[in-house]
């Protein structure tokens, strides 16, 4: 089975209007920039994007500026200082888009649960805050928890350091971040990889994302990251 696509455009060709898409990456580190820019070119609209942030330290604000985002599910929504705003924040204030924010640990666990066939889980995080509003509360061993439900997506865009033709992926250092769980939770997971190798070249003991979770692999250049966004 060869999962390699020759271009990012072909790899994302099936993304449809109204799709839900997860994007790996923590700020720019491990963010699938090439797939995202291909999606900007494709112009698909009414997207729900699930990512660490929308436009702060990643390329999702280009999608927003292009009018492609309907809703964002994030754990970091805005620039730290209110003096600087993203296009997404402008659209949110104009009620053109929707935004849901979750605590980082709950956010990634919802995604992990989605990929692992778990409907939801109880967490103490967010208890007594706006995050808990409208959610089931339950005591276990005398401690109170809230129910968080799983998240899945039609597509997951991930960025890996090295991948093989079977979709096995290895991430590099802190660029791993959200990528492994998002790879699990996408119905179609598309991996952009800085290095493409043949099956057998990766040490089977050291694979972070086994190929079963990955449907498409496309080779990209190593990104050149801009650290000066905040």
């Amino acid at each position: 089975m060869d999962k390699v696509y020759v271009s990012v455009e072909e790899a994302i060709a099936e993304v449809f209007e109204g799709a839900t898409i997860m994007f790996g990456g923590f700020w720019y580190t491990g963010f699938p920039s090439e797939l995202t820019l291909a999606l900007v070119k494709k112009g698909t609209k009414k997207l729900t994007v699930i990512a660490q942030s929308v436009g702060v330290g990643n390329d999702l604000d280009i999608l927003a500026a292009n009018g492609q985002i309907r809703k964002a599910i994030v754990n970091y929504a805005f620039f730290p200082s209110p003096d600087k705003i993203t296009e997404f924040e402008r659209q949110l204030r104009a009620h053109e888009v929707k935004c849901q924010t979750y605590p980082m640990g709950s956010f990634i666990e919802k995604i992990r649960a989605g990929g692992a066939g778990i409907a939801g889980f109880y967490t103490p995080t967010g208890l007594g805050t706006v995050v808990a509003q409208g959610k089931e509360h339950r005591f276990f061993d005398g401690r109170e928890y809230i129910l968080e439900e799983a998240l899945r997506a039609d597509f997951a865009f991930v960025h890996a350091h090295t991948g093989d033709r079977k979709g096995n992926l290895v991430y590099r250092k802190a660029a791993r971040n959200y990528n492994p769980e998002m790879a699990m939770a996408g119905t179609v997971t598309i991996a952009e990889v800085e290095n493409l190798v043949e099956p057998g070249e990766l040490d089977p003991d050291c694979i972070h994302t086994p190929g079963i979770y990955v449907q498409r692999v496309v080779k990209v250049e190593r990104p050149n990251i801009n650290f000066s966004f905040t």
Binding site: G30, P103, S106, T125, L127, T129, V130, A174, N224, T230
Partner: protein, 226 residues
């Protein structure tokens, strides 16, 4: 406001005072802002920093020739990874945080109540109440064994930040153990706030005057020594 214009401790000294709370062998997470400066005061100590992006043994900021774009802090600064570091996913990072494996989290705050409630993620001045920059703050606040807050004692225009009840949206309830400000070190106890230490040249009355909850003063009250 510049540190020079402010009464009491500079940001650097607040960070140093917080560093004194840490013990060798501890696993510690530092929040964005002044808490990050604590790392400058523990370089020669056996304290392991957890970076919520997914590694243990976070080192100092990277020099220009050692910048690796795949090694950054939660605040997006290029940092170094020390010998013995390990990298992992965000779900594992937050299993550590939520699962009680982090000994101390040192965080910033907008408001803290006398019951240890923390408000840190949403300033109502932004006028968006239901979404914002939660990041890892809610998980760290409930998951870390001890939560230490470093913050300026009041807002820049003199507004009170230590209160009977927080008025800003909460990050977590009843989680703060210790508050370190430019004026004082305050412990959140079962019986309310206890003034433990005051900055050099500051009186307990001065601290109480800019605190929106009653401070208990005991015979143990000391002036901070550096």
């Amino acid at each position: 406001m510049d540190s020079e214009e402010r009464l009491g401790l500079t940001d650097e000294l607040m960070a140093l005072r917080a560093a004194k709370e840490l013990e060798d062998g501890m696993y510690v997470n530092l929040g964005i802002g002044i808490p990050t400066m604590v790392s400058n005061w523990i370089l020669d100590r056996d304290i392991i920093l957890q970076a919520e992006i997914g590694f243990l043994e976070q080192g100092p900021f990277a020099e220009p020739d050692e910048v690796d774009q795949d090694v950054i802090s939660a605040g997006a600064e290029p940092v170094t990874a020390l010998r013995g570091a390990s990298f992992f996913s965000i779900s594992e990072s937050f299993a550590m945080i939520r699962g009680g494996h982090i000994d101390v989290a040192i965080l910033g705050a907008l408001q803290v109540s006398e019951k240890g409630d923390l408000a840190s993620w949403n300033n109502p001045a932004r006028k968006i109440s239901d979404s914002g920059n939660i990041g890892g703050s809610m998980d760290l606040a409930v998951g870390a064994i001890k939560v230490i807050i470093i913050m300026e004692h009041t807002t820049r225009d003199g507004g009170l930040k230590i209160l009977k009840e927080c008025t800003y949206p909460l990050t977590a309830k009843g989680v703060v153990n210790l508050i370190i400000t430019n004026l004082a070190v305050i412990e959140v106890s079962g019986e309310g706030l206890v003034l433990k230490e005051i900055a050099p040249g500051i009186t307990p009355e001065q601290v109480q005057a800019v605190t929106g909850a009653e401070l208990k003063i005991t015979e143990d009250l000391k002036e901070m020594v550096f």
